[in-house]
Amino acid sequence: MSLRSNVLDLRKRKREVQKGGGDEAIEKQAAMGKLTARERILALLDKNSFHEYDLFVEHAAKDFGMEGKTLHGDGVIIGTGTIYDKPVCIFAQDFTVAGGSLGLMHARKITKIMDHALKMRVPLIGINDSGGARIQEGVNSLAGYGEIFFRNTLASGVIPQISVILGPCAGGAVYSPALTDFVFVVENISKMFITGPSVVKSVLGEEVSMEELGGARVHAEITGNAHFYAETEMECFDQIKTLISFIPRSNLKKALAHKPKAPLKGVKIEDIVPSDPRIPYDMREVIKSITDGSEFFEIMEHFAPNIIIGFGRMNGETVGFVANQPMVLAGVLDIDSSDKAARFIRYCDAFNIPIVTLEDLPGYLPGVDQEHAGVIRHGAKILYAYSEATVPKITVIIRKAYGGGYIAMNSRHLRADFVFAWPGAEIAVMGPEGAANIVFRKEISEAENPEEMRQLKIQEYKEKFANPYVAAAQGYIDEVIEPRETRARVLHALKVSENKTSSMPSKKHGIPPF
């Protein structure tokens, strides 16, 4: 054969394999409203940047009539490419090939690209669309999952790991996404559960649809397993690209700086926040009033919305924001919000992203359900995460900071680098109402008009303790600032923290209250 005919032969072979499961299977995939694995990769990566490996890998199954079957690429595509010109490693399970089921060689391809991502210190993106373990391959497919989970854990905190759920992801398979940093789901397409509706029904008699059990909305709103929710695959890819633009490619790098921009004009920060601490407002407006271009990229928007997490830029640099949201549940800390914030804080810390905390909360949420579900250990996560973080940590107390919530939200005592408070801030063990009832119990109950006395004492407590100056007098707050100074003060604090050195005592690892 001449070289020319070799090349033609190669092209023919490639064309054949690149068809995946063939036309019929591709049509089925489209009928489910899904793109094919290859279309997804091409839509996500920069144009002409995708380079594929292991295209000619064949499956290794010998039993149950598998020996004669051809499974193109063994149901998964792996490769490298770029997003905004930054390198990424990617794999996409191909549902058109044996339902994207995972066998030995399928898993070996995935672990190959994972090893590559870790070695080259570039982000890993995994697109999941698979019926699960390939039963014909028995324990080899379980071994495959195990090898993937192990690498997810090794790579955790070293390179960004992104999981995109674009089809079923059931049984053991869900644990790879769960171990990664960010999980993306799409309405009507993503399905994640440990045991599916049919098993739930046969064993427990509980009737539930796939969507209700583990659809996109469930994971975005209720379980907190998903970080980003989109209505279409294309919207999902846009979210991934935006995320990639905010984060560094590894824990050894800083996120790329963008061109600094001023916040949009017309947003007056002092007009957003009502002075009465019991009246709500949208904390996102406060964040947007201080970020570059008033842009804020929110993470886990629908889960535990009483706390807000996400990325913005200040002077062109990526900043992680953690902020209480008075608009939902008065901005309390509870199990879900602590869990949500703690994981994000650890992410920022691992990837050299400074954390700005905007604080306005009445404390932890009371309730038997919270106590019995373990709010003590879950609530401790946020304290642990802030204490452990050595990236620059800046806190602005916007309005109220009571009790355990005050300590938890990156207080001086957990080694915040800079703590600012607005002049209306109330820093106290509890709100004036609760405090007056306890401190002046006797005076109130013995007064001729107890209610009048209560109001009097609430006022007295407010004037004496519910202000920022008591904490400022102790140096717990570095400076009481005017609201309109907020951006400038935070920018300066970030600037002087650029070369921050801070370390934890030498240890193998801590034991956070997981």
């Binding site: 427990l204 709103e221 209720i222 008075p326 608009m327 549940l329 404390g363 009371p366 359900d369």
Partner: protein, 107 residues
């Protein structure tokens, strides 16, 4: 949008906060002190057999019924010496979790 929602009151340490609730918060189960005279199913399943009758006196630890779930036959036992007040289930009935099975009272 949240602005269009009607605000609800959330009381924390004596102060009333105007805010909105999440679905999860609204759907939370209010705590009730357990009534030791009511025996509920702790898992959904099938009633395989019932060994007691109404008004029967039963000793602590005696098996009242078999509840099959997750391929296991679970023996539901009498928590103290007492009497069967009412039986709310039938043999072969499939019941959900937290379903009232038997009412009892102390001897």
């Amino acid at each position: 949008m949240a602005e269009e929602k009607e605000f609800k009151n959330l009381v924390i340490q004596g102060a009333i906060y105007k805010t909105t609730f999440t679905k999860k918060f609204e759907n939370r189960v209010n705590y009730e002190t357990p009534n030791e005279n009511l025996i509920y199913s702790f898992i959904p399943g099938t009633i395989v057999d019932i060994f007691v009758k109404t008004r029967q006196m039963v000793k602590e630890g005696e098996t009242l019924l078999l509840l099959e779930a997750m391929k296991m036959e679970n023996q539901v036992r009498m928590p103290f010496d007492g009497q069967i007040v009412k039986i709310h289930i039938k043999k072969d009935e499939v019941i959900p979790k937290r379903h009232l099975m038997i009412e009892i009272k102390k001897a």
